[in-house]
Amino acid sequence: MEIEFLVQTLSSLVAAASPVVLASIGETISEKSGVINLSLDGSIALSAMTGFAVAFTTGSVWLGMLAAMAVGALMALVVAFASITLRLEQVAVGFVLAMLGLELADFLGNPFVRKPGPSVPHWPIPYLSEVPILGPILFDQNLVVYLSFLAVVVTWWWIYKTQPGLKLQGVGERPESAFARGVNVNRLRYIYTVVGGALVGLAGASYSLSIKLGWSHRHTFGIGWIALAIVIFGGWDPWRVAAGSYLFGLLKALGSILQRNPAFANVPTQIFSSAPFALMIFALLLISSEGVDRLLALLPPRVARRIDRAIRGRPPGGLGRPFVQE
């Protein structure tokens, strides 16, 4: 009984975390190339709405997902054009787009509010889903969840194992050096920003077509901002970014479990719904605080350096900095 409950909880946690995983991995890709796509929150809202609207109108979930990805990619393209070609302030452009996307989704999504619509079909993977405990948690899910797994693994492999991935790191780290080695810095930045944006769009679709079906006012509440924080929390490393996303999911799940406990009956529900956000920020603060430095100073230098590298990632050296050839 206890085990069953745990498996069920973890399974829904993995599913619920998939949009956050997709969005934060998408953002990781674009930030690795040196471009901050701050439009995430608006991008997710707009793509969630578009995804649902297209799926609702055409009856095809897949067309909905594609449309959502296109919207995410388009938002990212605007960020890329403004920051790479026009050399505007990335943060300002992204912020304005975040606001715009949110309002636009609300406005355009009005006809679709609280309409029942299609959803991504449940799709257990044969054999794997029958493995005890792990099977139902990881492999008794839908396609969007599997895509979120795939995004993490492929992104990690691409960045750290392939030659194009090396170039991606180089472009974000120090564009001048990458240019010196014959890398077309701005073209790569465009490509990766747009690819990252498409993943963010998929995150939006997974919200309205898989996790929280349908469309309503402020449907994707704040998830984009938390994904942005998770990228920093995860030190721009796909595995740790994924871990951060699941940690956030866990905090949310714990909130709803505690909320159902009669002992907390008179605690306002808002506490439980907003606590995960505060806890995430607290975790970020803790990791970057000076106290950790003091603790590390007590350890032998080799160990300290390793731990430092494991818990703290430094941002790509060229993050947010446009590249101009002399």
Partner: protein, 498 residues
């Protein structure tokens, strides 16, 4: 491979950085490119290596004209450049740096890369850990990595832009040995860009001297130093003078100080500095001298010991109290820590006016800026932003910003990257401050500078602070040994007798 530059012209707005420069580099030689800061050396080399497109003139390789659209094309033709600040990726590992954009395959061949890196490293006696993060290497090691990478890409002509800035004496010796090997045994050409006469004199076969964007002259080995100086500056320079100043009471007393970062700890450091005294701090980069100096400026957390400035105990006091006590600190990163990029000279001078009125009198501020620009010989206008200035002029601005009547002046690499004339000027200004009773503490990697300018020299090795040496009684060799962590016989004897 023979490289000819014919009448190269490169203009930046009204500035003629290269105004019809011609030079020929023969295969198998080390060719020096000498000139003071801002003479146009780097611009010329960037034109040759594809970073800049010349506005006029021709580049010939073995007699055939070439034009490079990018550095990648230049390296494709066998021309590679090592920049003053190596263009690498500090957060990435050595092997990844080596392999980045090495070829167009999907999967980089790490095993093959490792083999190539090791093999080349062995040939030149470079000992690089392929898994080390590049940011943790010394500048010298980062240069070694870049040289190996350029060689692996098939460079036949290697350009080095001021490669000896910021590397240790043994690394410099090793670099020179490598360059000779490349030229004499492998028949490659080396272009050695420098403003340091001694280096060009010992290393190069031929030298081209640039002055204000034009060729001032050429010379062959053996060189006449006086002649080179005249070509560089258009006149000969007087030797540095150092008027004696009577020492006053102690202004800085450091007792049994311990400061630590988790990479390094300086323990039990004690030093007394008297008014008018100049102390040089020597050591390989990261040996603790910077930590010690920043502690004296109130910028590091002190775990034990005392820092007394002018009789007042300032241990653990905030930086502001140090400033009030007349301590000033000039960091090595002029643009990163010292100045504010984007602000003009006038704004900088107005900013340090702490007692000024609430509303800034811009007219007066501009007058004052003009005054200081004249007095400190800064090449710039009150409206010039600091990042547009050359390194030497940035250092002049930093000096102009210092208030008068300081008790203690702390300087990190005060003349790094400056030519002889600018360096002399900087030291003239600094030494003049001794007469106001200012004590000076400076970090330098230049042994001659330490011996020439300091009264006493303190060597740091791996966080250990050694007994101060009297500069007049110390030789370059002794100092070199101590910096490398070896003590001379007399020193050992003295320690045992204590």
């Amino acid at each position: 491979m023979k490289v000819e530059l014919v009448e190269i012209k490169k203009y930046f707005g009204p500035v003629r950085a290269n105004d019809g420069v011609s030079m020929t580099v023969e295969p198998g030689t080390i060719h020096g490119l000498l000139g003071e800061n801002g003479a146009g050396k780097t611009t010329l080399m960037k034109c040759l290596s594809g970073y800049l497109h010349p506005d006029g003139g021709k580049i010939l390789i073995d007699g055939r004209p070439v034009a490079f659209a990018s550095p990648a094309e230049a390296i494709g033709h066998g021309i590679g450049m090592l920049h003053q600040d190596p263009l690498d990726f500090p957060q990435m590992r050595v092997l990844d740096n080596f392999l980045l954009a090495f070829d167009d395959r999907l999967m980089p061949d790490r095993r093959e890369g490792l083999r190539l890196l090791r093999e080349l490293g062995r040939r030149f006696h470079f000992d690089l850990d392929p898994d080390a993060e590049v940011g943790r290497l010394t500048v010298g090691e980062r240069q070694q990595l870049e040289i190996l990478r350029l060689l692996a890409l098939g460079a036949r002509v290697i350009i080095l832009d001021e490669p000896t800035t910021g590397i240790s004496a043994p690394q410099k010796a090793q670099l020179f040995e490598t360059l000779r090997l490349l030229a004499e045994e492998e028949g490659r050409s080396v272009i050695f860009v420098s403003h340091k006469l001694e280096e060009v004199e010992t290393l190069c076969d031929r030298v081209t001297v640039l002055r204000q964007g034009k060729v001032a002259g050429e010379a062959e080995k053996p060189f006449s130093v006086d002649r080179l100086v005249e070509m560089m500056f258009g006149r000969s320079l007087p030797p540095p003078t150092r008027p004696p100043v009577p020492l006053g009471p102690p202004v800085l007393e450091v007792e049994d100080l311990t400061v630590a970062s988790y990479r390094l700890a300086v323990e039990g450091a004690s030093l007394e500095v008297r008014a008018g005294e100049v102390i040089g701090l020597a050591g390989l980069e990261g040996s603790g001298q910077r930590l010690f100096m920043r502690a004296c400026a109130g910028l590091e957390r002190v775990t034990a010991g005392r820092i007394v400035v002018d009789g007042r105990d300032l241990t653990g006091a905030p930086y502001r109290r140090f400033l009030e006590a007349g301590v000033a600190y000039l960091p090595a990163g002029r643009l990163e820590e010292g100045l504010i990029p984007g602000l003009t000279l006038t704004e900088h001078f107005a900013l340090v006016e702490r007692e000024g009125p609430f509303l800034i009198d811009w007219k007066a501020a501009r007058e004052q800026a003009l005054e200081r620009i004249r007095h400190y010989n800064i090449v710039g206008r009150p409206e010039t932003t600091v990042e547009a200035l050359s390194g030497g002029n940035q250092q002049r601005v930093l000096l102009a910003l210092l208030p008068h009547g300081l008790r203690l002046l702390l300087l990190e690499h005060p003349t790094r990257g400056l030519d002889v004339e600018s360096a002399n000027w900087v030291w003239q200004q600094l030494l003049a401050r001794r007469e106001e009773g200012t004590a000076i503490l400076f970090i330098s990697a230049d042994l001659d500078e330490l011996l020439e300018r300091a009264d006493r020299i303190v060597v740091f090795f791996a966080g250990r602070m050694m007994e101060p040496l009297v500069a007049e009684q110390t030789t370059v060799e002794q100092l070199g040994y101590l910096i490398g962590g070896k003590t001379t016989k007399t020193q050992r004897a003295r320690r045992f007798s204590l």
